[in-house]
């Protein structure tokens, strides 16, 4: 399995699309940070800042994850590398697990621009606010004005950004399964996956507002507000819960993907 992951990263290293995607995410992260700063200083209105919400991690990471799944999995079906992967390893479960690990690592790498922007912003303490909600990274920026700088706080924020990377991977993990179902049509995976991600993100908060039972149910999914509201005051128990739910979702979807892929015809 480790060979499959290494081979994937060799291919990714040589591919332009991942580099372009990373550059776009970096630009979006910087823009989001600047918007947060300018709204805080009064140089930009909340209304104007709202248009930049599309560049926030909540939207961009969903899109990036769908593109990653499409390229990583559908690409291999398209160029027939999946054949080599199957004959060179110990079977389909190994292939699915290897791809899942690569997927999580890639999504994590894609969150780096937002994570680094947040951490650097926190260290600089230049004044930030939260112009649009539901972003851990913006919350970290905002807390630079309310939480005094300390190594402990910095370490906690680094841990939170790492958890959030896992959170994004778990939120979009169904796209991974979708890619194995659709096989060589990456555009379909990206389009349907992104629409579904946005839909789930929106409906989860709506469902949570219906009743306490619904809220509890949502709190046991990767779309839980616990994940989006992590900050310096978040308790260790809550962080462990977010990680546990994310890992459980990833494990479940790995198995579901294996079940769908177990007897799939490989062209």
């Amino acid at each position: 399995m480790i060979n499959l992951i290494k081979a994937d990263f060799y291919k990714i290293h040589r591919s332009a699309i991942y580099k372009v995607l990373f550059i776009i995410l970096t630009a979006c992260a910087v823009t989001t940070t600047l918007v947060s700063h300018f709204v805080s200083t009064g140089d930009m209105s909340f209304e104007t800042a709202g248009t930049a919400a599309l560049l926030s991690d909540v939207v961009m990471m969903n899109l990036a994850s769908c593109i990653v799944a499409g390229q990583l999995i559908c690409g291999d079906f398209e160029n027939k590398l999946i054949q080599s992967a199957l004959t060179g390893t110990s079977g389909r479960f190994t292939v699915v697990c290897g791809k899942m690990i690569t997927y999580i690592l890639l999504v994590s790498v894609m969150t780096l621009p937002y994570a680094l922007s947040a951490i650097i912003g926190y260290v600089m303490d230049s004044g930030f606010c939260v112009p649009y909600s539901a972003s851990v990274y913006l919350k970290i920026l905002f807390e630079s004005t309310t939480v005094d700088f300390s190594v402990n706080a910095l370490l906690k924020y680094i841990v939170i950004t790492a958890i959030m990377a896992l959170g994004y991977a778990s939120q979009t993990v169904f796209v991974f399964t979708l890619a194995f179902l659709v096989k060589n049509k990456s555009l379909i995976v990206t389009t349907i996956g992104f629409i579904a991600c946005v839909f789930f993100g929106m409906t989860s908060s709506m469902i949570a507002g219906i009743s306490d039972t619904a809220k509890t149910m949502i709190s046991w999914t990767p779309f839980s507000p616990d994940a989006y509201n992590m900050g310096n005051d978040t308790e260790i128990g809550t962080m462990i819960k977010v990680v546990g739910i994310a890992l459980a979702f990833i494990a479940a979807f790995t198995y579901i993907t294996y079940l769908t892929f177990r007897k799939t015809e490989i062209k």
């Binding site: 060979n3 499959l4 290494k6 081979a7 060799y10 291919k11 040589r14 591919s15 332009a16 160029n79 027939k80 590398l81 999946i82 054949q83 080599s84 992967a85 199957l86 004959t87 060179g88 390893t89 110990s90 079977g91 007897k263 015809e265 490989i266």
Partner: protein, 303 residues
Amino acid sequence: MANTILRTENITKKYGETQVLSNVSVTLESGRIYGLIGVNGAGKTTFMRQILGLSIPNSGEIELFGKRGKAISKERSRLGCLIESPGLVLNLTAKQNLHLHRIMHGIADADIEDKLLETVGLANTGKKKAKDFSLGMKQRLGIAIALLTNPQLVILDEPINGLDPIGVVEIRELIKRLCDEKGMTILISSHNLPELYQCATDYIIIDHGEIKEQITLEELEEKCKHYLRIETPDTEKLAEVLESRLGTTNFKVMPDGSLQLYDFTDEKEKVTDVLFENGVKTTGFSLMGETLENYFISAVGRK
């Protein structure tokens, strides 16, 4: 002593209502070159895909290197394959593509990349990317990838497709060399019978998803010698007369109902006299020298 590399027992594959493979039973032994012959749509590629685990048979069993069931997944790492078109990343060079597959298969020997490129005639492609390769170059690279793991069984599906005449000769010689020098077993499919005839040691004839015959080169050469083709409405009586009156059993009743007599090819008159005397009505009588194509056509029961 030859070892059994692959044994399939009654492999059946259906796509919807279409039966693509019917009770395919084949045995491959080490160090031989097997030519899988069949017309387009005969089931050659589907059969190869079952062996490689790219498709799962509806019924039947595959034994690979003595292993069955789930254990064969691991044994598949001892296979090399080129099915239809090679698995290439088009924005990588030939060497980078080999490097990618080398990482994937966990092969430590980095020198193998250059050696294989030399072997398949792609050593001078430099920084040219696979997307700019001709079909023949892609096939050559696909063969190099198939050989990367030094496999014990190489499965090549129409490997000479797109190759120029010189390339065809080179690949044919390479296949022979791999078998002779490295003892590799090779299963190669083609509808190009004369081409297979120049390299295969065994032939598996497939048609409509059924194995019609598995035959060695020696047996094939024996069968392709001259014979008398006799057509009659009563084949049973004809066979009886040949046995009782001419004392020969060196004949074969073909699927189309005709009979091929391999004796008395220089004594046609004697045969016709005996048949006439014993009341065997003949509707056709001719001396034939069977070619590989004719043999194949007869074997699959088509005129």
